[in-house]
């Protein structure tokens, strides 16, 4: 396993280096200092925040749906799936795939947003 040697805690990660590293530092500087750069940065932040909120809201709605389903449909608790009560299966196991799927969708879309930002901001 390769590793970087650090001699003291740094408050802030530095992006120094040669070749690609220096080009990246310049690109970031341009993003920070020019108005055009900031337009792209703001758009990126907005789209990532919107994505996060949409995924979170979707997940919470599904969870609310589960809770309402169990609370409002009376016969469900007596239902059996492979000998196990339906409410246990739904809350004890059924929610986890929903969490995993939401997370996977988010990671994919967030990476896509960043790729689009890179194209727009001219970082290569």
């Amino acid at each position: 396993m390769t590793r970087v040697r650090v001699t003291a805690p740094r408050r802030v990660a530095t992006g120094a280096g040669s070749g690609r590293g220096r080009a990246a530092a310049e690109a970031r500087k341009a993003a920070e200092e020019t108005d055009a750069g900031q337009v792209f940065v703001r758009a990126l932040i907005r789209s990532q925040l919107r994505l996060g909120i949409v995924v979170a809201a979707g997940f919470l709605l599904i969870m609310l749906g589960f809770a309402l389903l169990l609370g409002l449909v009376p016969g469900l608790a007596e239902l059996r799936i492979a000998g196990l009560p339906f409410d246990w299966v739904l809350l004890g196991a059924g929610i986890y795939p929903v969490i995993g799927l939401s997370a996977w969708l988010y990671v994919r879309t967030a990476a896509r947003n960043e790729a689009r930002y890179r194209d727009l901001a001219g970082e290569r």
């Binding site: 690609r20 979170a56 997940f59 196991a93 997370a103 988010y106 960043e114």
Partner: protein, 488 residues
């Protein structure tokens, strides 16, 4: 239970921890190693380590115990513990890693350019850490008492001693390996005995699984307010846990921080199926375990009760080993992150200072745990989540996503959350479980919005204090790094 089983299991876990810790010692030499393993930990290792650190006494013992006591209402606990990571992934993981800060106080200081904010954050982080270590030690006391019959304090002192030696000797580098190992140990320790339990149940002809009709505690079932408030605490508390956040700095970049979190979600989802199964089996076949005030020991007792003989002893030993892995891993993770915060703020960030701070951060909660009584483990950890959700969570979320946050707003919000939530916890402790109204027993539903509101309003009122470097900071937090990882 045969007392030798408990002692042997604890000794085995300690030995394994020490061996891995020693192996790590040889490669951790610099201050950077001690803090964050030099950011070269791979996603799978890192995710296993996060899982190992996160799955505490509350998850290993508490969830099953609470399910035994209150049935389906308790199922929200594991769901919330897992979904908290989803929130962390959505709003915190990548930007926090890109901030380049080592600890939460580092982040708030860099974001708000204020030493005062740093001090308040450090104070809150240390309180959260201590509050969170105490239930681990209560769990250790319970496990030692149940499995060996030794006095309860032996378990607490043993856990703190092992954690101090490991952390002071190896720092974060060895901790990463130890934690990753402990996730898989915990999973095995629940999965293998469960397999045997199911075989036994299938062999004896399983009676139809039915909900136990009795409510062993006599407490009324949780209403919708309590469930919602609990979920608020768990969803938003996870993203403020100091020992969880410090792990994200060990990812090489923001993208890998997200990938790591995705793996963690998978690992947690798999893990929580097992305590849920124990709880269900316990509710149907051993509802008596709850009556004696030791519901949290259900996981430890079930294999011995239902299988018995040598096989039962061996399986019990495995479960006990898993339980101690849970106490050790969470406690050491917390001690590492607390020691990082304390040593940087007070002792100047040297390796020697880190060791001193580790000792200090471990001994104080030992004192608290020795003088307080254990309640339901999952419940008391749930309250710690409410506390982080009302203090650290608002400052992180607003700091990452809102340019308008100011130092005055951050301090006012954190103090509001800490006082409101801390006050509720104290009032709940004074009034006792039966006398506490539900809005004090589960305060998150109002303390979290209150902390957010105060933070936003005070920031609006002190608009001129927005740091000048805000544009540069927001750019760093949210734009992807170049693949610097390839540059060694």
């Amino acid at each position: 239970m045969n007392p030798v089983v408990g002692v042997a299991a604890f000794a085995a876990v300690t030995l394994a921890t020490a061996v891995i810790g020693f192996y790590g010692l040889r490669i951790s030499r610099t201050t950077g190693d001690f803090y964050v393993a030099s950011r070269t930990v791979r996603p799978w290792w890192n995710a296993s380590a996060i899982g190992g650190e996160y799955l505490s006494a509350a998850s290993f013992l508490g969830v099953a115990g609470l399910i035994l006591l209150s049935g389906t209402d308790a199922l929200w606990y594991p769901v919330g513990y897992t979904a908290g990571y989803l929130m962390l992934l959505l709003f915190v993981a990548a930007p926090l890693r890109r901030s380049g800060a080592y600890t939460i106080p580092d982040f708030t200081e860099a974001r708000l350019e204020s030493r005062a904010v740093r001090r308040v954050t450090s104070l809150v982080v240390v309180m959260v850490g201590w509050l969170y270590i105490v239930p681990q030690l209560h769990g250790a006391a319970l496990a030692i008492r149940i499995t060996t019959g030794l006095p309860a304090w032996v378990g607490q002192v043993a856990v703190i001693a092992v954690v101090c030696v490991t952390v002071m000797a190896g720092g974060m580098r060895s901790i990463t390996f130890v934690q990753a190992f402990q996730y898989w140990l915990k999973l095995t320790a629940l999965a293998v005995p469960l397999l045997f339990l199911l075989l036994v149940l299938a062999g004896t002809g399983t009676p139809a699984v039915a909900e136990a009709p009795v409510n062993p505690t006599g407490l009324p079932p949780a209403g919708p307010y309590q469930n919602i408030s609990l979920l608020v605490a768990l969803l938003f508390g996870t993203l403020g846990l100091p020992h969880v956040l410090v792990r994200f700095y060990t990812n090489p970049d923001g993208q890998s921080a997200r990938r790591t979190t995705l793996i963690v979600l998978g690992l947690l989802s798999v893990f929580y199926l097992f305590p849920t199964a124990y709880g269900l089996i316990g509710r149907v076949f051993a509802p008596g375990a709850a009556g004696a005030g030791q519901a949290d020991a259900l996981v430890l007792l079930l294999p011995g009760r239902m299988i018995g003989g040598l096989a039962g002893d061996l399986l019990s030993a495995l479960v006990v080993a898993g339980a101690f892995a849970a106490f050790l891993s969470t406690t050491s993770g917390l001690v590492v992150s607390l020691a990082g915060v304390i040593s940087q703020d007070i002792l100047g960030g040297s390796v020697r200072g880190f060791r001193l701070a580790a000792l200090f951060s471990a001994v104080v909660p030992l004192g608290i745990a020795a003088t307080t009584d254990s309640t339901a483990l999952a419940g008391s950890v749930g309250l710690v989540f409410a506390f982080t959700a009302s203090t650290i969570c608002p400052v992180l979320l607003l700091g990452i996503w809102w340019r308008g946050l100011t130092d005055a707003g951050a301090i006012a919000g954190m103090l509001t959350g800490a006082l409101a939530c801390g006050g509720s916890m104290l009032a709940g402790a004074v009034l006792g479980a039966a006398g506490t109204p539900s809005w004090l027993a589960q305060p998150a539903a109002w303390t979290v919005p209150a902390a957010f509101a105060v933070m936003v309003l005070v920031s609006r009122a002190t608009r001129d204090r927005v740091p000048r470097s805000i544009t540069r900071l927001m750019t760093r937090l949210h734009t992807p790094e170049r693949p610097l990882v390839t540059e060694r």
